[in-house]
């Protein structure tokens, strides 16, 4: 958001304030509020109303007795979670996997966008951009089927290795160490193209005069990239980082659920899969909700910290 607009907005707000009471303001802008109502209402009904369910975390919840009828057990569910050795392992895995994903997918997307930005031939750009976007468009179940066909013990890569080069098969999908990297790189494969589109879009808004000026100063393409392009997309990068930080304890449930197996629990069992196996499949909603609540609380705390830090640093926050 540029300075002029910010000023404009501030002026508007200060101008409106003395004249209007809240009711007058709503009345004057009733059309705008009406337009927002379907979305706001649907968020309140389908996202906020179910939050009453978070109280399940403090109950020995029985679906039939309901929230009001179930026994209040205080923090017992949290104690159960914290006393479970697999909880801590899952929390650690969630954090490691999502951190590595952020560290690799995030710069990959930037690099991909920078590379695409250097291509002048339009058709080439469109073809490559479309292909990198494809993985984003399919569900994890389908992506999982593809990766199993390619990386499985009897998949494409291993059959090439064993039959053409006579090597031993690599257990990409059942050896805990390679598997963690499969998850991370698969995430890059799925999302880099999508985020690259966001950066490309931001690049398109960079003032062409800046490049001309740089060229006049004798800057090479590389120098232009570093001094003009990157600063030009820094706002977008920060926004994406801000949102991503909130997901540092959510390592991508669907992906892991589709891809993992018992052999790789050690490195791949994350909070959601842990919850599914140890709580939900047993109908222990109290424990499941407690874990979800801990996870949500960590996420929101992280987001708010980076949001206000970013605001203080003058980089704008999320809202």
């Amino acid at each position: 958001m540029n300075v002029a607009q910010e000023n404009f907005r501030q002026n508007q707000t200060t101008l409106d304030k003395p004249k209007c009471s809240a009711l007058d303001h709503v009345r004057q802008n009733s059309t705008l509020y009406l337009m927002a109502i379907p979305a706001v209402l649907s968020i309140i009904v389908f996202s906020y109303l179910p939050l009453f369910g978070l109280s399940i975390a403090f109950l020995d919840f029985s679906p039939f007795r309901g929230i009001l009828g179930s026994e209040w057990v205080g923090t017992a569910n949290f104690a159960d979670a914290f006393n479970n050795p697999f909880f801590w392992a899952a929390l650690r895995n969630s954090f490691i996997i999502s951190t590595l994903k952020l560290m690799i997918t995030f710069p990959s997307a930037v690099i991909l966008a920078l590379l695409l930005n250097e291509v002048r031939k339009r058709w080439l750009k469109v073809v490559i951009q479309t292909s990198t976007m494809l993985p984003f468009l399919v569900s994890w179940v389908v992506a999982g089927a593809m990766f199993r066909a390619i990386l499985g013990t009897d998949g494409l890569v291993n059959s090439v290795g064993t039959s053409l080069f006579n090597t031993d098969p690599i257990a990409f999908l059942s050896d805990p160490q390679p598997f963690r990297w499969v998850l991370i790189l698969q995430d890059t494969w799925k999302y880099a193209g999508y985020f690259a589109v966001l950066y490309l879009a931001a690049m398109a808004t960079i003032d062409p005069n800046l490049y001309e000026a740089a060229e006049v100063d004798g800057a090479s393409r590389w120098q232009q990239t570093v001094h003009v392009t990157l600063p030009g997309i820094s706002n977008t990068m920060i926004t994406i980082l801000l949102i991503s930080v909130g997901y540092l304890v959510a390592a991508g449930f669907e992906q892991v659920y589709v891809m993992y197996n018992v052999s790789v629990y050690e490195t791949a069992d994350i909070l959601e899969t842990f919850t599914l196996r140890l709580a939900l499949s047993q109908g222990n909603y109290g424990l499941a909700t407690a874990v979800g609540l801990v996870q949500g609380a960590i996420s929101l705390t992280l987001v708010l910290i980076v949001h206000f830090t970013a605001k203080r640093l003058g980089r704008g926050g999320l809202f």
Partner: protein, 294 residues
Amino acid sequence: MTNITLKPHAIFGLTSGQLLIRLALLVIFALCAYPFFYILSLAVMPYENFISSPVHFGPNGFTLEYFQQIFGSANLQRAFTISVFKTIMGTGLSVVTTVMAGWALSRPGLKYGRLLSALFIVPLYVGGGLIPYFLVIRATGMLNTFWALIIPSMVWPFNFLIARAYFANFPQEIVEAAKVDGASNLMIFKDIVWPTSTPIIATLAVLYGVGHWNDYFWPSFLVQPDLYPITVVLQNLISGNVMASRLGVSGFQSVSPQSFIAAVAAVLIIPVLVAYPLFQRYVVKGILVGSLKG
């Protein structure tokens, strides 16, 4: 390495830098697109050919047998229709509500715009859980109706934030000029904003469309089997929860799992492959402004 100097303008009229960039992009292209090509190859390759040789890079022979097996079932045909309706109507509804809210709440001077927008942050990270969600949807009377497939997931917070950021950059001068001409807020939206916002509309259509098409968990929870979209059946099939034999696929014994699963995956992929390019060029423009902070 031999020491062949890559002279500027030497190869295909490209500088060495350009050449490296294109090589890198070629590798990226292959990595992204090949898995799609491979799974589609498996889907059209006769199974005998698949097992007769250990390595395949592309289709060896051609057959549509597996697709015929999938679509031979009347149930799958109906499920497919439901999926199509769900995707089209759900996307239409989602896009319209999101665009309206994104526009309205990004208006400078709208006192509670910021507050209402902040409402969309929490749901990004916290949910209430399965049973409370079910109870809320039941209370609305939508349970086991077609509406349960499209209304509860009508607005995604992330998409709203994209839309709002996009409209925050909408040139305010145009709006002011229209106001001077006596246009109402509704007219401004209908006649000026909507027609000029194709990029964000296309972007949201892709994001919501993909979401609605791929959605399979909630439908199996919120509606009864006569309303299952095809994804519920197919995704369960891929993830191994349902045996092909139980789908009433005729002559299932001869259906080989790899080929059949590949064909199922293809059925899920192909509509996306067909539809996406239609939106692609708008998407780039749409995310363009949307990604800038508002």
